[in-house]
Subunit: 139 residues, 4 copies
């Protein structure tokens, strides 16, 4: 059984562009938020807490993509259903389905790493293997 | 010879997240801006003018993707180099390379359509073939 | 009795800046959203509908201000309590109180007009008196 | 003689809302950016450097306000002219004038503090007096 989590958003006036539809980068903003809510719902400690324990401060992106199937406008209530589609050695893939009611609006994927500061150069970022205590939450 | 255009941006404090790096949806925001500047530089009439002539009000997305290779932070000057990678029957693919100096930060693609309002239902969007007068600008 | 409406938001990771706190323009984004939800909750027709009836397409700003009393960070659940503080001849003042639980984070005000396109130049905006059918909703 | 700095921006499609004009919180985003560029132009060390020296990590807001005089839309080139209007004991006021050519679009003010982490609770923020080495830059 795959753990899945649904996050709800309302499309606001300011999320829409002069064509009256959602300005598309906002879907990535919602997918990013859905990723964090997914981990919180799964019981993963907050980034604040995880950083204190492990040095991991977040899950930056390796790549991101989305297919836009239907448009949305302000006042629409949308949901983002999120799963981990794949665990890899140094990264993992999150899959998001954005819907308005039963209609699929957007299908997205984010490949992320668990990242900590490089021990010798705090301006650089280092990928670490997904922590076992995080992966176990999804067994 | 492929027409290409470079748009410049400055990464601002508010474009960065608590991890001190660019919040990734902003790269899609910059690619979207670069797409419009690309068309303006090529001599495509503004959406305002194009809508008056053809009903086309914009180029909404079919899909978008990006690979994130290096991080950036506020104060960084970045460039987005844009080309049309492919013209299709009802869509076209824009390729973007985001750089800081010579370093490639992000490689992105946007597949877009030329869109007008559906003649019978202005709330729906209709793809039209890329206008010849637009494509000719890139011959 | 003053009509008041409370809108709920969750502060997301991407709403925060490198100082780990909300990037302040987002509070204006939330106040703008709260204004629209306030009018929807009061029974004011949607802008889509209102524009069809009256030409009014929105309530652009004359001025906006906010006092920032406490910071917030991602994961915080916040509320925006909205009222109309004053009706004027050609404008009206909305007051917003942003809270996390009982703590006031921000106090804001927006002065807005009801706007329609100028009949002779659709690129210009014209203030119209607040429609009686809208004001009556708050009697 | 007051030190003043002008920052240039281009209004992008995605900065505008369904009313085809700038979504107003973006003006605060541009004023915030202009504030940082103002300090950089004046020779103030970057927040990165200033934090290493003094613990000051930024200049969060006490209040912000704006008067909206004219609208702008995408494709417009705008400038933000920034000065420090007043130095106070624990805060300072930045004044911004947003123009398109000679036309004033927006007049804004931001009251800010110099902030560092509270020495006993890093989650809290503490105002410190504007550093003399920063103020001297404006003598």
């Amino acid at each position: 059984m795959t753990f899945r989590h649904t996050t709800e958003f309302v499309v606001e006036f300011g999320d829409c562009d002069p064509a009256q539809i959602v300005f598309y980068p906002n879907y990535f903003r919602w997918m990013d938020s859905a990723s964090r809510h997914f981990f919180v719902a799964a019981g993963v400690p907050s980034w604040h807490a995880l950083e204190a324990q492990t040095g991991i401060f977040g899950t930056p992106l390796v790549d991101a993509s989305a297919r836009f199937l239907r448009t949305a406008t302000y006042g629409d209530h949308i949901t983002v259903e999120t799963t981990v589609a794949e665990w890899r050695t140094k990264s993992f893939v999150m899959a998001h389905v954005v819907r308005r009611g039963a209609d699929v609006l957007v299908e997205g994927q984010e490949t992320r790493i668990f990242a900590r500061r490089h021990p010798e150069d705090p301006k650089r970022i280092q990928a670490v293997a997904p922590p076992e205590e995080v992966k176990h939450l999804f067994d």
